[in-house]
Amino acid sequence: MLSPPPSVLLMQRLWINVQLFSQGAVLSYRALFAWLRPATFIASMIFFPLGQIMFFTLLGIYATGAQNASFFLLGNAMQITASSGIFGVTMAIGGERWAGTLMYLFGSPANRLAIFTGRAAVHILNGFVEVLLGLAWGWLLGWVDFSRTDPLALGLTILIATFSTAALGLLLGCLGLITLNIMFINNLIYFLLLLFSGANVPVSSLPQWMQYISWALPLTRGIQAAREIVSGAHVSQVANLLAGELAIGMMYLAVGYLLFRFFEMEAKRRGTLEAF
């Protein structure tokens, strides 16, 4: 019997990986939607971000004047992506249920990268939508003016920032697999992002050593780019920020993936896979 030509084999391999990726995405999606009534899910998608945005924007207005409303609004609306990108993704990777089935996945020839990244897909989508909703609220409340904004540029910025935050989430999720103390980790990171990303306090006002942390985290560049785009900047003017944000995201993704493979090897070596 003749074996298929190499190009067909490649296509088959690709197709299998696509399927793996989608399966992970679908499972994540169902985990998110399956047990929640749609009405309640939407309510928490709207009320929680709205609460945070309103609190910090009002506080910012009180502290520095109404003219700065858009500073705080944009910062917090963008930071909201972390609720999916961090919380959602870390639970998807580090969640007990998935860890229980990991043992079976690791015994299979399935492509690890496809499995790993598939889980984050739906949360990237979710995060993107949440940011848009946050911005919409800000616009409705008169805290931001989009008249000089290039929508595509803003959309791209949000997408990249959401991606890089989710990449950090993937890394943290892997840490969660090892240490199993996810709630501590993801709450800490979420709040650190609130503090260091420039969402509420300009990075330049932070002490020097804190600024290093800011620039090493996702969202910082994205938030700055978003603010510039809303004040009328052209996408080429924020290109280096966006490239930086993308690079940070890729870096977290790479480290996270390495950690994931390391986890698999360690677990098989030490025989701790069934511990989950």
């Binding site: 939607f33 399956a34 009534r37 749609p38």
Partner: protein
Amino acid sequence: MNAAVQVSNLRRVYKSHIGAFRRKVKEVEAVKGISFEVEPGELFGVLGPNGAGKTTTVKMLTTLLIPTSGTATILGYDVVKQADAIRPRIGFIFGGERGLYWRLSGLDNLKYFSALYQIDPAISKQRIPRLLELVGLADRANEKVEGYSRGMKQRLHIARTLLNDPEVLFLDEPSIGLDPVAAREIRQVVRDLREQNKTILLTTHYMFEADELCRRIAVINHGAIIALDTPANLKRFARDLAVVEFQVNRVTPQTVERLKGLPFVDAVSVEEREQNSLVIVQSPRGSEAVPDLMAQLNGSAIQKVSVREPTLEDAYVRLVNQADETEDG
């Protein structure tokens, strides 16, 4: 003497919702109007398969669940209207891995529950060590529960349930999931409790456990009691069913069907083993049926024939089959 536990037409319907968008309501009648009484100091068994309604019944009697209809009293107090009077006087175990505080030690768990049971500290100070001795956990009492084996957790549950020195105990499947040694230990504890004249209601799906421990047994299936009697009487119910066992080389499904079709055969079951098969035939004719049965088995090499007395399990199978036939037919 008044019954310790009195149940009259107790019924419980569960409603569940299906689907995320269009929510449909599904109703399941878990307990279909059962009635029975437990005498003071009696060890009463409720025997049935999973999903029969045993746990639901116990939850209603321990005031955790409100019946859909019917009444029940414990020591004369109504389970719905006088729940507060019942709670200090009963103990219950649903057992298993849950129900204990994992981050605390066994001893701390008992101290906590003691306080919640309003037990005088002077009394609990003496009682707790005694209970730990009773269940064999005295030397592991200071370890966190998360490190306990399943059997140890079960024993801690028993200690917990005895903290308030209850008059009536409800043990729901106390030996489930335990290895044989641990299970035997639990049964010994239950026997010891029986000696102390406590009223005990025990649910189980292990036939031999019910046979060994209980004075009377209620057989429950699909939410209804299909028989209530002492183990001996229940077995007598199936006494006319002697059992003939043929150890054969192999047996074909057609042979089994032919056997089932014989007028004097009530039930046939087959146990497949590595080297041979065991054909178990229930027939009122007992050993007299052997020649006719052997004729049907011609084709399968017969290695051994034995006739045995029916066990509680045989009686149970027959009861359940009859109940199912009445339901269907």
